[in-house]
């Protein structure tokens, strides 16, 4: 096993410069937790000073119980082969986040998707509001409280005979009249 030297150097460089928490997850993976206002300066610092010039991806996780959105920025160093995650949490009620498409151009695509799917606002973001959906009048669909099954059942025509989450083995036994064997019962859903 490697002794995680490069990872710890990276962690120290970022955490000491911004006075934030972080940890080494495993070899080649380091994460730091930042306040939402410092994210763009961390990303800029990592890109200009540390050489993390490639942004792999950014994503949003809806923690509905805590009332927060978690944003994860994944950036990559093409020479050291290290991946740095910058994680931040924003309020679910006032979802506003800094726009970083001046640092990486393709962040624009991710942000447009997040604006549409989670309803997060990025001030100064250019591009049409309809990126994927068209004429959408419900709440942003990737939020946890949006029930896609209910919406689909109400909106679209359902062919009769289709029900959700049935146990195949039990259905077959009902139809043919055979009994489900004991060894199979432990694999049933409930």
């Amino acid at each position: 096993m490697t002794d995680l030297v490069k990872e710890n150097i990276l962690l120290n460089a970022v955490t000491s410069a911004f006075k934030i928490e972080g940890k080494v997850i495993r070899d080649r993976r380091v994460e730091v937790h930042a306040d939402k206002n410092t994210v763009s300066s961390i990303l800029l610092f990592a890109k200009k000073q540390l050489g993390y010039i490639h942004m792999n991806h950014m994503t949003c996780i809806d923690w509905i119980e805590q009332g927060e959105f978690e944003l994860v920025y994944t950036i990559y160093h093409p020479v050291d082969k290290l991946t740095l995650f910058v994680k931040t949490r924003i309020d679910r009620e006032i979802p506003v986040m800094e726009n970083i498409d001046t640092i990486w151009d393709h962040a624009n695509t991710y942000e447009r998707e997040m604006r549409e799917m989670f309803g997060i606002e990025f001030p100064g973001l250019v591009g049409e509001h309809d990126f994927i959906l068209e004429d959408w009048d419900q709440i942003p669909p990737m939020r946890k409280e949006f029930d896609t099954h209910k919406y689909a059942a109400e909106t679209f025509y359902t062919r009769p005979g289709r029900e959700d989450a049935k146990d195949v083995r039990e259905e077959l036994s009902k139809r043919s009249g055979t009994v489900v064997p004991d060894f199979a019962k432990k694999y049933s859903r409930e």
Partner: protein
């Protein structure tokens, strides 16, 4: 020169030259593109939302449909992310089988690329040959998994079933056949002056900007930068296998075509080595009851080199029996929107679908 009027031109969604169901809006002056904008969303199936309603194993039926030409890298990447969360070991034999499946998937996708790339240049013989030969690889998949296109073969903890009897011999025979055919493809495609003249100097991705724009895979290697997840962050048994990562200078369609041409040969080389070195033993580290299986809480990021470049899965678990959130980053996500919009200005209208094919834009992966 007379300044010509600017016209708006829509390519897609119903257009034979486009690489799927998407749309590119062009502003053109005469024959030259002034600006381009990509519009997607025609294939949005809400995969990431549906996965939250499926359990960990059921998610595989959805996963492989993310990008149709290459379902297997998606399965592998997700399986690796789940294995990382669950600390699940994979038997050595399963790792070799996975490498073989991945390289077969790469080859069949390159065969399809041959068809798309030459078809968009107006050369219709190559599609007839390469899609026909691709069926031989799909036959191997059918023997192994039961499906031609979608396999659902790779699982967390290994693969679903062992190799059937005689499958390795059949694979080696198919590899011999395809290696022989590659020389003939060279004659009809790469030695063809029409293709060379169309491809050289068109659709250039600048080397100094490439990494910053998020370019990955063969497109990045076509600019002369050696970058491949298989050597940068070796997964499965790629570190035990001897293979080259081809690069080309130039960054144009021609350079990317040469990179892909060489990669098919490397895939054949990898498959031969993997079959020769494959150990015996178990192929699956069993999950007790997949329907009730829970995965410890946490987040994992796994990435894999697919045909068009790096594919990443960000998987979040809350400790339940369903994924809390799965986010997919495919290669086309940047290639199809940012990179395309940046390199199209200045090109000829006739080259647009040619460039789309060479960037490997796969619209279902952009909107999922």
């Amino acid at each position: 020169m007379v300044r010509e009027k600017e016209t708006t031109l829509y390519i897609g969604p119903q257009h034979p030259g486009i690489t799927g169901n998407m749309m590119v809006k062009l502003k053109v002056q005469g024959d030259t593109v002034v600006s381009a904008a990509t519009h997607v969303g025609y294939l949005h199936r809400a995969f990431e939302k549906l996965i939250e309603r499926r359990n960990w194993i059921q998610a595989f039926t959805l996963l492989c449909r993310f990008c149709v030409p290459e379902p297997d890298p998606m399965e592998l990447t997700y399986a690796r992310a789940v294995e990382e969360l669950d600390n699940r070991e994979v038997p050595e034999r399963a790792k070799y089988i996975r490498v073989i499946v991945m390289e077969l998937a790469r080859m069949q996708s390159f065969m399809l690329w041959y068809a798309g790339q030459s078809g968009s240049a107006g050369l219709y013989l190559t599609p007839q040959w390469s899609v026909g030969d691709r069926n031989y690889i799909l036959d191997l998949f059918e023997d192994l998994t039961g499906g031609r296109i979608y396999h659902m073969y790779i699982w967390p903890g290994g693969v679903r079933r062992d190799l059937p009897e005689g499958w390795t011999d059949k694979t080696l025979r198919t590899m011999d056949y395809i290696e022989k055919r590659l020389d003939e493809y060279n004659k009809i495609l790469f030695d063809n002056t029409i293709f060379q003249k169309r491809a050289q100097g068109v659709g250039i991705v600048p080397k100094d900007k490439a990494i910053e724009w998020g370019v990955v895979g063969p497109v990045l290697r076509g600019t002369g930068i050696k970058s491949d997840v298989r050597i940068d962050e070796p997964y499965e048994v790629y570190d035990k296998i001897d293979f080259d990562v081809p690069t080309q200078e130039g960054g144009d369609i021609w350079a990317r075509a040469l990179v892909r041409k060489e990669e098919v040969r490397q895939s054949i080389r990898i498959i031969r080595q993997a079959i020769a070195d494959m150990p015996g033993g178990a192929y699956y580290n069993k999950v007790s009851n997949p329907m009730k299986w829970t995965v410890p809480a946490g987040q994992a990021w796994a990435k894999t080199e697919s045909v068009r470049g790096e594919i990443g899965f960000h998987v979040t678990s809350d400790g339940g029996n369903k994924p809390y959130r799965v986010h997919v980053k495919g290669a086309a996500y940047t290639h199809g929107v940012t990179v395309l919009e940046k390199i199209l200005p200045g090109q000829n209208i006739a080259d647009v679908s040619f460039i789309l094919n060479s960037l490997g834009v796969c619209p279902p992966e952009i909107e999922r």
